[in-house]
């Protein structure tokens, strides 16, 4: 096994997902099969190869630092499940 149950639980914590007891074995097995497939990339020597982040090797274009949009606050807040006039509402974080 390239990935074990404990690691899967840790990944779930990092990914903000929960994995319940009845699924954990199956999820571990499926992630292990994916990681086994992924591992083939180690068959090739790549020491002097530059990583490719963008298929065109393009550099991030920066826009002019100027105002180009007006506030859509009301429209955007209206999309939330829970909001008041100015804020998104979440369960209490600080008592």
């Amino acid at each position: 096994m390239l990935i074990n149950r404990k690691e899967v639980e840790q990944i779930a914590v990092l990914a903000k997902l929960s994995v319940n007891e009845s699924e954990i074995e199956a999820i571990t097995a499926s992630l292990d099969s994916v990681v086994t497939m992924i591992n083939h990339i180690n068959e090739v020597e790549t020491d002097n190869v530059k990583p490719m982040a963008n298929p065109l090797d393009a550099v991030q274009r920066l826009r002019v630092d100027a105002v180009n949009e007006t506030s859509k606050k009301d429209k955007l807040l209206s999309m939330a499940s829970n909001a008041d006039e100015d804020y998104y509402l979440v369960p209490t974080v600080v008592e």
Partner: protein, 483 residues
Amino acid sequence: MNFNGIKSLSLALQSKQISVQELHDIYLTRQQTHAKNLNCLISKTPELAKTQIQSAQALIDSKQANMLTGIPLVHKDLFCTKDHQTSCGSRMLENFIAPYDATVVDNLNKAGMVTMAKANMDEFAMGSSNENSYFGAVKNPWNTHRVPGGSSGGSAALVAAGLAPIATGSDTGGSIRQPAALCGVTGIKPSYGRASRYGMVAFASSLDQAGVFARSAEDCSLVLSSMCSFDEKDSTSTQIAQEDFSQNLNQSIKGIKVGVVTEWMDSLPEDIKKTTFEAIKQLEELGAEIQEVVLPTAHLAVSAYYVIAPAECSSNLSRFDGVRYGYQCENPLDLNDLYVRSRTEGFGDEVKRRIMVGTWALSAGFYDAYYRKAQKIRRLIAQDFSKAFEKIDVIAAPVSPETAFEFNAKKDPVSMYQEDIYTIPSSLAGLPCMSIPIGLVNKLPVGLQLIGHNLQESTILNVAHQYQQATSFHTQIAEGYDA
């Protein structure tokens, strides 16, 4: 109505043989007859269509129309359509109403097209069978016990069934080409950076590209020309002038050099191999010179892709927190519970699997061994293509190792991922590529993939069009549907 391409529809509209409303109604009737059974639509957009029909007719009446004015269209449900549901095939966005139009949508609106509906798809464009949609799997019109391919399965199926002449799609690792092949329609993914990703729900940002499904290469070229544009709002948009991709369609392909990857051909099942070789033979008869090419690193493409795409997915999908928009769980105990339960209940199994694979690949201790390593493999694959294109103009290749398979046939994720072995390499290299129908095997469509060098959409469309002028496979339709 005898469908003979967008040009003839446009001519009928502009010569007043038919009104925009009447044309729309023909397709609406077909959707009412077949869409539910095929499950190819997630929502309909009648109010939007009503407004667009009126403005398209006004443009035609005042002789300001172009070839696309008044032509009905369905968008894959990952393109934001202002004030309409944009679900991305997910429970997470089931009730999401987009606050703006994607640039691709905006461009086609400006061309005067009429948006009729939003197409079903694999959740967040992750899948090769459409079985991952929260709204249920799409059925293949050629055999409703079989998958249409994915992730743009709804778009492919509805064009195959004649429910709209055009549908948009997106392709990250094969999501236009594979369903186009399995449903027997023509589909194109342009070069990375050609079509704006603004307003297209993100899966893997260095791979995602918008594209088109149609019944011919000619129709694809007409829509793609309007769809692609440089866009300030997409920082990876390629800064070049808009191009008319239909300009080279009628050129002869005599002398054009077509590369064939022997290793890929050898790996095909006999019946698909035979059909694919027949299509290549047809290109040769049209004057193309066939050459063997090798892509020495391409066999590692699926492995590298399943590091890069999930890594980008885990990063992109971290925006879904249940707070600002999208699904929120009921009665969260605290903030962490709100995040965790909203994501766990809002995402489906395949999306969660890819988020977890990506989180793992990007986590401490694995980043260099997997993510950077995969990016290095990506460069080797791109270099393989660049080297090949020094000697050839186009690669002719299979799209999929099999025809449409039955529902629930792929039990484990890795066997599903292998569906994209021939489509992923060109995606990693950001190249333009398309699928065209080349015949049937056991009454199911087979596609041929044409891959061009960067920004050479016109070249692959030229080859595809010339092939379609000499053959009629692209006009074949499944029994029970209208052309």
